[in-house]
């Protein structure tokens, strides 16, 4: 089955992973800007990172017939440094017209601190000023519920079209509030700290597939870039219709991304 992985950090994956993804039916990925595993020293290293996301990765992906899209921001972890964050916020607009940029992301909270909240709000203002879509990271483990609720509180203060915002890494206790508020939600299949394919399918069965996407969030940590096909298999084993599976892994991300002017997905069936 053709699918889109809407959240995958390919800068920290090998070219072999692109090949495996292509063989498994992945036709497009979107890569939110993220923490590199260490704090960067200056705004300039973000400029290089944004070049990697807008110039290098699309070429690497194209070799395997995968379309590469991206989102730009300073991630929640480094957002603790307000001064550095403001430097990066000034650089982002230079890249917004690059042909693979879908919007601002993944912004959000990490430890739910004051500085993270301040920079989250400044990213939202940037997104609104430039009519950008927004992709949001929610914290992990014991911080997730509190952080997700804080993010929903802050989002509610902006007059942004809620259908252009995706709140990611939702789990059993956060998916309801996100969908009920009218935002898109993403579920991340990730060993230990996030959702498993079975639990993600449970969430689809409980909440329906409207505005719900699923991703691997593969990165430099223990993660599995091919986790989306695991979900496809689990849905099939439970007897779900192919049309429902396709909606979750292909139609939904396509529909969400289609609201961005730079999203030009080639229909794989018509290639």
């Amino acid at each position: 089955m053709y699918y889109i992985d809407p959240h995958l950090h390919m800068v920290s994956r090998t070219t072999d992973d692109y090949e495996t993804l292509a063989k498994m039916g992945c036709v497009a990925i979107s890569e939110p800007a993220f923490w590199a595993g260490f704090d960067r020293g200056s705004g300039e290293s973000f400029r290089d990172y944004f070049r990697q996301l807008t110039e290098v990765e699309p070429k690497r992906a194209a070799q395997y017939g995968i379309q590469h899209f991206t989102w730009l921001c300073i991630n929640a972890k480094e957002a603790e440094d307000v001064e550095l964050s403001r430097e990066v916020l000034k650089i982002i607009p230079e890249f917004l017209d690059c042909p693979n940029v879908l919007g601002i992301g993944e912004i959000g909270l990490n430890k739910n601190t004051k500085n993270e909240a301040i920079i989250f709000q400044e990213h939202m203002e940037l997104a609104i000023a430039h009519q950008q879509q927004v992709l949001i990271h929610t914290p992990h483990l014991e911080d997730k519920y509190q952080g997700t609720r804080m993010i929903l509180d802050m989002l509610g203060e902006h007059s942004i079209d809620r259908s252009r915002v995706l709140v990611d890494h939702v789990e059993e206790h956060t998916v309801g509030p996100v969908l009920e508020a009218g935002y898109w939600a993403g579920m991340t299949l990730y060993p230990v700290t996030k959702c498993t394919p079975s639990r993600a399918v449970d969430i689809i069965e409980r909440h329906g597939a409207e505005r719900l996407c699923v991703n691997s969030a593969g990165d430099w940590g223990p993660s599995k870039p091919t986790a989306v096909p695991d979900l496809v298999l689990e849905m099939r084993r439970r007897g779900h219709k192919e049309s429902l599976i396709k909606k979750v892994v292909y139609d939904n991300p396509r529909d969400f991304f289609s609201q961005s002017k730079n999203f030009n997905l080639e229909n794989p069936a018509q290639r």
Partner: protein
């Protein structure tokens, strides 16, 4: 899938996961030291109670998620002295 089919499919998985939890708790108890006062042990005990309890609405997973979550205070902006933008 009906409940019987799901049970057929999940029984050995559930059995294996429960054994893992039991063995890990045994390992903790067998080791030197005392963690009986550690709040995490209380959380584990509460989570096991949630699993064992009967629910008219099956939301065990959601309840366990909330059990392991920090509390959310609607007034969080006050603590940070951040004004609402709306």
């Amino acid at each position: 899938m009906n409940s019987n089919e799901i049970l057929d499919r999940e029984f050995l998985e559930i059995r294996a996961k429960i054994l893992e939890v039991a063995a890990a708790l045994d390992r903790i108890e067998r080791a030197e030291g005392d963690v009986s006062g550690d709040p995490r042990m209380g959380l584990i005990a509460d989570a096991i109670n949630i699993i064992a309890s009967e629910h008219s609405d099956p939301i065990r997973a959601e309840k366990i998620q909330l059990l392991f979550s920090r509390t959310y205070d609607e007034q969080w902006r006050n603590e940070f002295s951040i004004a609402s933008r709306s």
